[in-house]
Amino acid sequence: MTETPAVDVENLVVRFHQRDRTIYAVNGVSFRLARGEVLGILGESGSGKTVTLRSLMRLLPHNCAIAGRVVLDGEDVTAASESRLEELRGNCIAMIFQEPATALDPVFTIGQQITETLVRHQGMPRGEARRRALEWLERVQIPSARRRLDSYPHEMSGGMRQRAMIALALSCNPTVLLADEPTTALDVTVQIQILLLLRELQRELGMAVVFVTHDVGAAVEVSDRLAVMYAGRFVETGAARDVLRKRAHPYTEGLLAANLHGVEPGSRLMTIPGAPPNLAALPSGCSFAPRCAYAMQQCGETMPAPVICGDGHVARCWRAEERIKVAA
């Protein structure tokens, strides 16, 4: 018998109904994540990466319709009641955000916030919860942790706040951690420290992590597997190594080139022409076809089926096989 995956998403579809139109934000995303595995979801703004992440916790506004199945650690989140969801959030599944200054509560100290979480979710006595909060601050390497327990978020630097938010999110030992661009707002030298910290904690605690980012560099530092997202779909998924080297989907190729990775300084950059599609009126075939240099007639007509390009490496492109062969 195989172990239950930490995250099992099947054909997730998310739509936002607005007054005069419907936004097709996520259009059939499926993936499985084992315990202790890290999936990096890579995409540009409007690709649906954050919506995908939030629908795992059902943290979405009321005007949206979610279809498909999300099973976390054996429990169907899509069918769960609101009260059950509240139990799950922060306990079995936790989330960290891009901007800790807004994610943390400004009127409570860091210590109070972590203590409260432990008391509420784990029924821990207050004294013990505070001791545990201190342990967590030490674990995320906040200097003079005892003093920082009584600090308010605004009294801390950006990097330290991000550490405090990680401590808060991990305090109840979640099975799954969702990370939404947690290092984007940070300076380079702080960013690498946070990435290294996340990697270390993830290994120690054996969590499954879904790490959403637009930054290929950050994704590569923490992810075992990568999913490249475009117009609400995973266009390429696979081991980080395979996605980076083989680039079976033309969008992956364009995105990596735009990241100036391995590009001769001063040379002309390969760009993706045009702009991302309007999510209210998606093309019928491959969403990337209008911008794709390799598009054929078929691409504009029918949505490509997933093509297996290697062990666990899948791309949604009619020409994926041919592209892999050429690359090899």
Partner: protein
């Protein structure tokens, strides 16, 4: 359309377009209401560099290092406390030099936030025509005609965009408008302050290509301020590295990236993600955040985070010294006889 720079090359090709000497700006820090202490934020503290004609000089550093303040000081958007700015051989605001208004015709800026830097109630054509109409008294009709040409130059079709408003455009398109607006005055130097930082990567690449084309076609000089080391390496001829209001290292882009000599530059470059799953970064050279620029450390400002800091580093601020062909470093370890135990040992490794 190919418009040559408005003013002649006055100083000749060898005269740097911009020379900055010992630029300083200290802001009073907001203390508590009752406190009598006079804290200051030493945002820019003795910055000197020059920009040769036709070059792109990249300025890198973390938040609070003073790179954006430097840009604003150059344009006199904020008044410097001290220091000299020389534009093509002429002192800015100096007797016999050029005035601030004249300077701003020749030096324009593109900001990070493409939305807040455009007037939301003006059409794109009006925005681009505004500068020439007001600053150069160009007749409205002519200014609007030229706006069309500029739109084309930045890759936007005038018939589609001239009558639209900023909110109808995407971030990348708005940044093109900002570039067109800056170019409308036919400047010779463009300051790009995190101009591509807020854009998606695929759009960023398009804008970088556009900037490269414009530089070549119009003979422009760029001061390119960014926190993104990959971008700076791609676009710059020369790189200036700032830390807490001072320059710690400056040199040719190749020298800086191949042989970083200041411990801070080394740490900064090591913090760049490897982009290789098989060679992930294993450790960070630095711990903690950049310190607060209010009351920075004495002597070398980096010493509180530097693995090699010694007594001399706290006592004497290191001067920016040339170590090899225009490669300058401000570190006691680079200067034989500075009193640092490693002084001169690292210097020898530089070819």
């Amino acid at each position: 359309m190919n418009v040559p720079p408005s003013s002649d090359d006055r100083g000749g090709a060898a005269q740097p377009l911009l020379i900055v000497r010992d630029l300083k700006k200290h802001f009073p820090a907001k203390g508590s209401f009752w406190s009598l202490s006079r804290d200051t934020v030493q945002a820019v503290d003795g910055v000197s560099f020059s920009v040769a004609k036709g070059q792109t000089v990249g300025v890198v550093g973390e938040s609070g290092c003073g790179k954006s303040t430097t840009a604003r000081l150059l344009l006199h958007l904020i008044e410097p406390d001290a220091g000299e700015v020389i534009f093509d051989g002429e002192g800015v605001g100096a007797p016999g030099g050029i005035g601030v208004r004249e300077l701003r015709l020749q030096m324009q800026m593109v900001f990070q936030d493409s939305y807040s830097s455009l007037n939301p109630r003006a059409t794109i054509a009006d925005i681009i025509a505004f500068g020439p109409r007001t600053a150069k008294k160009v007749p409205s009709k002519q200014a609007h005609d030229r706006a069309g040409g500029l739109l084309e130059q930045v890759g936007l079709q005038p018939s589609l965009f001239a009558r639209r408003y900023p909110h109808e455009l995407s971030g990348g398109q708005r940044q093109r408008i900002n570039i067109a607006r800056a170019l409308a005055l036919e400047p010779r130097l463009l300051i790009l302050d995190e101009a591509v930082s807020a854009l998606d990567k695929s759009v960023e690449a398009q804008i970088l290509n556009l900037l490269a084309d414009l530089r070549r076609d119009l003979g422009l000089t760029y001061l390119f301020i960014s926190h993104d080391l990959n971008v700076v390496r791609h676009v710059s001829d020369r790189v200036v590295v700032m830390y807490l209001g001072r320059i710690v290292e400056a040199g040719d882009v190749g020298g800086i990236f191949r042989r970083p000599s200041h411990p801070y530059t080394q740490a900064l470059l090591r913090a760049m993600p490897s982009m290789d799953p098989d060679r992930r970064t294993e450790a960070s050279l630095l711990t903690g955040d950049p310190p607060n620029p209010i009351n920075p450390p004495s002597g070398c400002r980096f010493r509180t985070r530097c693995a090699f800091a010694e007594e001399v580093c706290a006592r004497v601020p290191p001067a920016l010294q040339d170590i090899a062909g225009g490669h300058q470093v401000a570190c006691h370890m680079m200067v034989p006889g500075s009193g640092h135990s490693r002084a001169g040992t690292i210097c020898a490794g530089h070819d």
